[in-house]
Symmetry: C2
């Protein structure tokens, strides 16, 4: 695959310009670009500026509102429901996390369900907002239906990520940010470009048979829940994904399960939507609601050190602490730049031409 | 395997008698028995009265305090930390969940970290306490180290379950209660008794090689995190298990990772414990902190109906909604009785003889 490297500031400026051309306010454009750039910096390329054209196409279809009136529609001292007014999830979710953090400051924790939103980028961005305040961050979202429950051949759930982030002392924040499917769609796309097969257990074909054909999903198949099959616990992956769907959408009043609106603009949402838009669920808990922050951080560091030193199977590959590779990528890419494959650059330059802004 | 069936009331009376002989108060004995019986009724035999002799042995070693002074040691309006005073997790966790529910009534949600506890039975018992109050229940716990992180061959984590439970309308509560390992130890024990092999991906041997030997764990191997191997997402199972460990133990002040005290009395806890006992983390969120309860329940029922009707691969096996098989077992076993294998009955009768109470 051919790719070019771009400086962070170049991509950031470009992305902000595109969002402004969509009609976003300066503040929203800067924030939305920051969420996408964070994904690229952290090496989660599938959720960075490569998605920008997807948001543009949804906006062109009238499914994204560039000037949303995001508001709290229901609340208690530690909970709230927010209506995203069909705004970019990239700005709706940070708004909601600020509400969660504020509630957490006041009463120890804050939990916010969000309806009528769109794709919110990487869950980790939002969870890390809490970590900066010495809080534990939690972020989940439902997503376009691509995953089948155990025993089914119908796409009923998104890759519905779960993210937990914890403050630490001298080590990078501990952050687990994971799709609840065995593999994410991005990994299939890589195999498709390379023309290789995918491992057994990632997808099944349209009849529900296991397949290693990397085009199996496109051809009517489905991604499999974490665990891959019943014998290896796919009912657990299904249970987790379902939990994310319920917290994000049934609780907030968004559309759930197979009704979750697809991210791709060429597919319309199903008729008879049971709710409004996509849903998220975010939380923040003050560490000092449980024990003193410094004490917690010392023990987090001790936890991380102990796990780094868990006896490896092979001396060349030690245990990886969740969150470390992403921070390492962030440090490196700030210096060396962000690689974009040529197909993505072409896509972005088409948008630039349409909006009359400078090409990348 | 030979087994006998017992009426619920017989096992309940027996279990209460044993806890009272240990020195538990009437109230604690009744509660602890209720937690164990709930597991047996719901078909989770590994966590029911089959564990009773394990608790007795821990008490004999002085590791369980039958008369604990369970108390809140730190709190905010929506959070608390509880010291279980080395009591039975079976009574410490319900105490803590009551605190979470009370906080949830007051400010919308309640989150309680618990240190200095012991095995708390099935997570589902505690989460369902919240559901009875039209709240969402959350329960996790750390446990004896038997699971290895991805890339390691050292036992660093417990099977660390995650449980979420949601109220519903006409259907049974939606409840996902799952170990974060691919398979639980109980499944290995069944294979050992039958003399069969276990599937690839459940365990590895002491050198970190994949094995199908059902005795592999006993012989120095380890259970694998949900996902089984890196290619199938075992880093996600590791991330979830680690999250449970951190919430349960690093946040509360309990012992974490490989230091988590083993359930088996013949193994002493490691020296230089970084905290006190096992830890749990429980939560309750009022549904009406987000949207009206009746509205939520209608949508939960709609969710369940849609998923029950997801196109099955084979018409004989429809999608299973988490929580349904357990409720079906509960209804059946209340009538037909609870099966215990003879080895368990023998074990329980030895305890009966020692305590001078009637045999089963």
């Amino acid at each position: 695959m051919e790719y070019h490297k771009f400086e962070e500031s170049t991509l950031r400026g470009f992305t902000e310009s595109v969002f402004k051309k969509m009609g976003c306010s300066e503040e929203h454009a800067v924030l939305a670009a920051d969420v996408l750039l964070k994904a690229d910096l952290r090496g989660i390329d599938s959720h960075g500026v490569a998605r920008l054209t997807g948001y543009v196409r949804l906006w062109e279809k009238g499914r994204i509102n560039a000037k949303p009136n995001i508001k709290i529609v229901h609340e208690t001292p530690s909970t709230a429901t927010i209506d995203g007014d069909a705004g970019l999830g990239l700005v709706v979710a940070p708004f909601a996390m600020k509400v969660a953090i504020e509630k957490s400051k006041n009463v120890g924790s804050g939990w916010v369900a969000i309806k009528n939103s769109n794709h919110f980028g990487i869950a980790g961005y939002h969870a890390l907002m809490a970590v900066e305040q010495d809080m534990i961050g939690f972020a989940v979202t439902n997503a376009s239906p691509l995953v089948t429950p155990t025993f089914s051949k119908e796409r009923m759930l998104g890759t519905n990520p779960i993210c937990y982030a914890f403050p630490t002392g001298k080590y990078p924040p501990f952050i687990t940010d994971m799709a609840t499917s065995t593999a994410a769609n991005g990994k299939l796309e890589i195999a498709q470009r390379k023309g290789t097969e995918v491992p057994t257990g990632w997808i099944q074909d349209k009849d529900g048979n296991s397949t290693t054909n990397s085009h199996g999903l496109k051809e009517g198949g489905a991604l499999l829940p974490l665990g891959s099959d019943r014998e290896h616990g796919s009912h657990k992956g299904f249970g987790l994904s379902a939990t994310v769907d319920i917290l994000s959408a049934v609780l907030s009043g968004a559309s759930y399960g197979p009704w979750a609106p697809p991210f791709v603009a060429f597919m319309d949402p199903l008729p008879n939507q049971p709710g409004e838009g996509l849903g998220h669920f975010l939380g923040a808990m003050r560490v000092d609601g449980f024990r003193p922050v410094e004490e917690f951080k010392l023990h987090m560091d001790n936890w991380i050190e102990r796990f780094k030193n868990a006896t490896p199977i092979s001396p060349e590959q030690k245990v990886i602490i969740p969150g470390e590779p992403e921070l390492e990528a962030e440090i490196e890419r700030k210096v060396t730049g962000i690689p974009l494959i040529d197909a993505v650059v072409r896509d972005l330059n088409e948008v630039a031409d349409k909006f009359g802004i400078d090409r990348l």
